[in-house]
Amino acid sequence: MFGIPLFPERASTIANEVDALYFFLIGLSVVMSVLIATLVVSFAIKFRRRHRDAVGAQVHGGMALELAWTIVPFLITLVVFFWGAKIYFVMASPPPETLNIYVVGKQWMWKVQHLTGQREINQLHVPVGRPVKLIMTSEDVIHDFSIPAMRVKADVIPGRFVQIWFEPTRPGTYHIFCAEYCGTQHSRMTGQVEVMEATAYQTWLSGGTAEGSLASTGEKLFADLACNTCHRPDSRGRGPVLQNLYSHPVQLHDGTVVTADENYLRESILTPATKVTAGFQPVMPAFQGLVSEEQLLALIEYVKSLSTQQENVNR
């Protein structure tokens, strides 16, 4: 309108649903505000004080009216709640097959790590039409990875992985913002998502690095750090077998059962004593401070590659 942008682009499947709820709420708000404003202004005019000493009429309230204007708004809010919850469930449940990409935030840049080995800084190349899942963490303070055009964002927290997913619907370039205040250059911690047609994306991918895939980097690291001396593919190692570990349940030595997701793998590398697998001794050294975030991602991706089940583990 007048050349002033007033509405963000819609570039993902979920964006349409979010906007639909938004427009409904705008409509509701306009109706309610106009109603109240009209009533207030018209009462102020119609019942304007005409003599200095005039008083108002005694109008008695009624339970019926009070209940009505309590219950009707309540019902409306129920509708909005369920609608918002429905959208949220979709956001919280990535489809079974996603293109996974790791994102690490740090003051004041975004480091993107593709499974094929590609690395990007403040840029994220993705193909159109395929669901993408971002597995994210922070190296220092809490940041927030936000793509307004996709209508998704999540805080990235040090010490943990969080996930968001989206399916891009239109090729183009869209803003990435850091949306959680993180210090001096918070407003400069921005980037672009490049959504590409499938063939263009393939071309981009193949212009990749000589390094090899993330999982293969992880495999090398696994050997370099001597993980393979205890974690052997047969059950003769001092540590649990890692084949087919990812996304399967694990019983811990205190009896509880957890699912081996990314956070579990991360915790088991950095502070293994926190969750010891049943039947094993707590002898694994802690790698906290000995591996960088990128190395951690590579190791985790390697362990994931040892699993035949690559399906998404939902929180």
Binding site: L28, V40, V59, V90, P148, V152, Y181, Q185, S187
Partner: protein, 537 residues
């Protein structure tokens, strides 16, 4: 008929600095707060002006990144802790609670004075922070940035907040005991004016919630000074735990900020329609309902912070529920105007403005309570617009409306009506121009606390900054004419508005002991017998 100015009243009952600094009179203490709170309002406002000036251009070239970060942080800290939380309770509440219940003073007058001194101490600590390096963590002070990475004055700032909290706790305590124990004979709970119900509910939140921010501030201090690791992930700590602790207080805090304003609006609407508030009982219980529900919704600040799906759903549902009592109040105030005798004097204009702006602000709360939508708009300017509609469009309008309504009682003088109407209009226009564009900016994705932004956001930012300059003028005018009125304003007389309420049955200004004889209450709080309202000259 020229109204009489009483010969003896609380303002001339003793002169000199120590008669003020050692006073036990709740009315004088209210004025002590008025001076201090107004000072902080303009400090916080100055920061806002600088912020909006800087945001007029996308490059963020007025001040450096670090200075900008300090500006928005200190704007938040000063406005929240030193203006919005104390303003209505400590100024209007302190002045009016004993008058409205027919008592000579609060239950613990010396404690009241102590509250003021604690506020000043906390305020001085805040000024110390400002002058020795500032704070740049955001008023929310999230860990681990605040505990491990910030290089600014986090510890003194957290301690300033810790100290100031005791002021709120003691004031809340005072009000609760006063309302329970010191009502005039005949004033049952349901014969109390609604401002007292609102004050009571606010005081409940004050005493239950403030200790939690107290311990949270101490945890930040401990983590920074002694290198404890509560929020440090490399030692098993959890940064999200900080957020839970912080918001457990800070969400109820926003109800501390808005409930008293709602109480004021109830009084304004009744007085300027010369009718009892429609649905009195429902409005009274809504205040309590908001206070209780307000403690249960803190997680709605954390939908994208790594909170579990199920917790988020529960917080979402409860957040919708807490909107209902507020809506009920708006409906009841509107209904009060029906067949009222509606005056267009300035306090009523503020009340009408409140109803409109609070409705919009509250409706945008629905946008935020819906999680699916919240994900997109959280941490953006949409949030900023939402809370400014409530805090500024709501609370500040309520505060100014109350100041205008009770100014004659407090000072004995009238302010110039034409100028006050003009200011109200300027404020209303300036406010909307400042904050409405921010809803649009937020949905477009502009994050909050951003100093530099993509050029396509500039036009809306310029509109907002223009509005801010108008709003600033609007706020300066009342300062000027209230001060003017102290010397040149027309004497008001006991009841210039023809309003009902115990405070209007004593002189303006009141005598130190408030009432010559203890009133005996037989009528309901909003008693407007037709056709002529009695005027007490």
């Amino acid at each position: 008929m020229e109204a009489e100015f009483p010969a003896k009243h609380y303002l001339n009952d003793g002169y000199g600095i120590s008669s003020w600094l050692l006073t036990r009179d709740h009315k004088r203490i209210a004025l002590l707060y008025l001076v201090a709170v107004t000072f902080f309002f303009f400090v916080g406002g100055a920061f806002a002006v600088l912020i909006r000036l800087d945001l007029a251009t996308p490059a963020g070239d007025l001040v450096s990144d670090d200075i900008y970060n300090q500006l928005f942080t200190m704007h938040g800290v000063v406005m929240v802790f030193f203006f919005l939380i104390p303003a209505i309770p400590a100024i209007l509440g302190n002045f009016l609670v004993p008058l409205m219940i027919g008592a000579k003073d609060l239950a613990f007058p010396k404690l009241n004075l102590l509250s003021w001194y604690i506020y000043i101490a906390g305020g001085l600590m805040g000024v110390y922070v400002l002058l020795t390096g500032g704070l740049d963590t955001g008023w929310t002070m999230y860990a681990p940035f605040s505990t491990k990475y910030a290089t600014t004055r986090v510890v003194p700032a957290a301690l300033a907040i810790f100290v100031t909290g005791f002021s709120s706790i003691l004031t809340g305590l005072n009000f609760i005991v006063t309302i329970h124990r010191m009502r005039a004979p005949g004033m049952t709970w349901f014969k109390m004016p609604l401002f007292l119900w609102a004050t009571y509910a606010t005081s409940l939140i004050n005493i239950l919630g403030t200790p939690v921010i107290a311990i949270t501030s101490l945890l930040i201090v401990a983590e920074r000074l002694f290198n404890f690791g509560f929020f440090d992930p490399s030692r098993g700590g959890d940064p999200v735990l900080f957020q839970h602790l912080f918001w457990f207080y800070s969400h109820p805090a926003v109800y501390i900020m808005v409930l008293p304003a709602m109480g004021v609006i109830s009084e304004l609407v009744a007085a300027f329609c010369r009718k009892p508030v429609f649905g009195y009982t429902f409005v009274a219980f809504s205040s309590l309902g908001i206070a209780v529900l307000g403690f249960l919704v803190w997680g709605h600040h954390m939908f994208v912070a790594g909170q579990s799906v199920y917790a988020s759903l529960v917080f979402s549902m409860l957040s919708f529920l807490v909107a209902i009592p507020s809506a009920v109040k708006v409906f009841n105030w509107t209904a009060t105007m029906y067949k009222g005798s509606v005056s267009w004097q300035t306090p009523m204009l503020y009340a009408i403005g409140f109803i409109g702006l609070f409705t919009i602000g509250g409706l945008t709360g629905l946008f935020l309570a819906s999680i699916g939508l919240n994900v997109h708009v959280t941490d953006t300017y949409f949030i900023i617009a939402h809370f400014h509609y409530i805090m500024v469009g709501g609370t500040i309008m309520g505060y100014l409306g109350g100041l205008h309504y009770w100014w004659p009682k407090i000072s004995g003088r009238m302010y110039p009506e034409g100028l006050s109407k003009l200011s109200a209009g300027i404020i209303f226009i300036g406010f909307n121009l400042t904050f409405f564009p921010q809803f649009i900016l937020g949905y477009m994705g502009m994050p909050r606390r951003y100093h530099a932004y993509p050029p396509e956001f500039q036009v809306l930012n310029v509109l907002s900054s223009a509005g801010a300059s108008i709003l600033g003028v609007g706020y300066l005018l009342p300062m000027a004419y209230f001060a003017w009125s102290l010397r040149y304003g027309k004497p008001a007389g006991a009841n210039p508005w023809g309003a009902s309420g115990l405070e209007w049955e004593t002189t303006s200004p009141p005598p130190t002991e408030n009432f010559a004889t203890t009133p005996n209450v037989t009528e309901s709080p909003y008693n407007y017998p037709s056709p002529v309202v009695k005027h007490v000259a």
